[in-house]
């Protein structure tokens, strides 16, 4: 056994946690439990109950905007993955409980270095992998993932925590406690090989926009190509200026790297400015994207990874905008089926992380 997965839709934190525990009860070599819970559970209760039920293990996780488990997309549930000691050799979990602190990542990395008795720059990037769970309302994701990338070559993958589209407060969980405006960084040393899949369902059109006036703190673009952002965007698509937001989901923008988009999704218009779900930089060339079929494209990318070696388990950080699109197209069942044969947990995120902070993407950690 390498991982065990379980879920509960019981609305009581206590009973849901007990149900998860019972499903893991036959395993005696568990090391670590990762869980994703709907924000409709009381965050302090669910954190405490999960830790109480796995008192000899470490537990960590976060709130969501929908949960994933092999074959199913869920709402108002808790999903959990227990890692056994034949999958994970060692791990270290750090809570960043003040995201305004400039050196929060540096301090966490010092603790990782102390735990593993090795410099982060010197650790073998093929032997370690990091997880990020970052408050999805904090606007702090870029700073965190950018600093991580500065300090190490170890790949980090993860998602921004959600709150079932209430947009009020999200939480991360560690060791029986819930933290808001916080992030978790976990550094795993797996005993097995692993990889990261980044999948999105877009093609880049030969139409570009260059941000020329921005506020990166608020992720706002005032002007593209020196004209008001909404006008530039709607002119590029060839639609009425008042219809911009109707096209956001189908036509986000992409920062292209080796023909692969790092998606930047517009969130709303403010007068003639556009606010995004992640940061764009001044003079960064962005391509207009056109959406495709999420189910087909995710299956294609998973099949490609599976052809190399059989995936034995995975953690899927799936953008809430993808979930909303799947729901709108009545494709949630088909999406769940894409990974029904692979032990999987995941959640609908407010943003995804891999090398940078991105949108409308699934970032997936797979274990072989």
């Amino acid at each position: 056994m390498s991982v065990k997965i379980a879920y509960s839709t019981n609305t009581s934190s206590k009973e849901a946690s007990q149900e998860i525990k019972e499903k893991f009860s036959n395993e005696n070599n568990l090391k670590l439990v990762l869980f994703f819970a709907s924000s409709n559970y009381d965050p302090n209760e669910i954190a405490a109950e999960m830790q109480n039920n796995f008192s000899s293990l470490k537990t960590f996780g976060c709130t969501t905007s929908g949960e994933l488990i092999s074959g199913l997309m869920l709402k108002n549930s808790i999903v959990a993955m227990a890692f056994s000691d034949d999958l994970i050799e060692d791990f270290s979990v750090e809570v960043l409980d003040d995201l305004n602190k400039k050196d929060a990542v540096d301090l966490a990395f010092k603790n990782f270095e102390s735990h593993y008795e090795s410099k982060m720059q010197e650790m073998d990037f093929k032997k370690y992998v990091g997880l990020t769970l970052i408050d999805g309302l904090s606007l702090a994701e870029e700073k965190i993932i950018d600093r991580i990338g500065d300090l190490t070559n170890i790949p980090f993958v993860g998602g921004s925590t959600g709150d079932d589209l209430k947009f009020t407060k999200t939480h991360v969980f560690y060791n029986g406690k819930a933290f808001s405006n916080s992030a978790i960084l976990a550094l795993l040393k797996p005993k097995v090989d692993f990889d990261i899949i980044k999948t999105q369902s877009f093609k880049a059109l030969d139409k570009k926009l260059i941000p020329t006036k921005i506020n990166s703190e608020t992720r706002t673009v005032y002007e593209f190509n020196n004209i008001p952002a909404v006008k530039a965007y709607t002119d590029l698509i060839g639609i009425d200026i008042n219809d911009a937001s109707k096209y956001f989901m189908h036509h986000p923008l992409g920062l292209m790297a080796n023909d692969e988009p790092f998606v930047r999704s517009p969130q709303q218009t403010k007068d003639y400015a556009m606010v995004f779900y992640c940061n764009v930089s001044e003079n960064m060339e962005l391509s207009l994207l056109e959406s495709g079929n999420i189910v087909d494209d995710t299956k294609r990318d998973l099949d490609l990874a599976n052809q190399k070696r059989k995936i034995k388990s995975m953690i899927n950080f799936n953008c809430i905008l993808r979930t909303l699109e799947l729901e709108a197209k009545d494709q949630t069942e088909a999406y769940g089926k894409v990974f029904e044969d692979i032990p999987t947990i995941g959640f609908s995120t407010y943003g995804e992380q891999y090398l940078g902070h991105i949108n409308q993407t699934s970032t997936i950690l797979v274990f072989y």
Partner: protein
Amino acid sequence: MAGQIKNLVEQIIKVRCNGNPTLINPTKIKLILKGINPDKFNDESEDDPIIIGKLQTIIKDLNLVIEI
């Protein structure tokens, strides 16, 4: 003057990857996400002081020792 940006970008990638080809692509993507696309600069690219300043900040953030 021209070509300094390409030279700096190449050195950042070389020093950061330390001879490991697997790291070249993720390092280039990190630079692109920071607003510097390595493929956009060649020997004829003008030595834009704003971009050179950005690269010097990146060198400092990555704690790299590079001869300029």
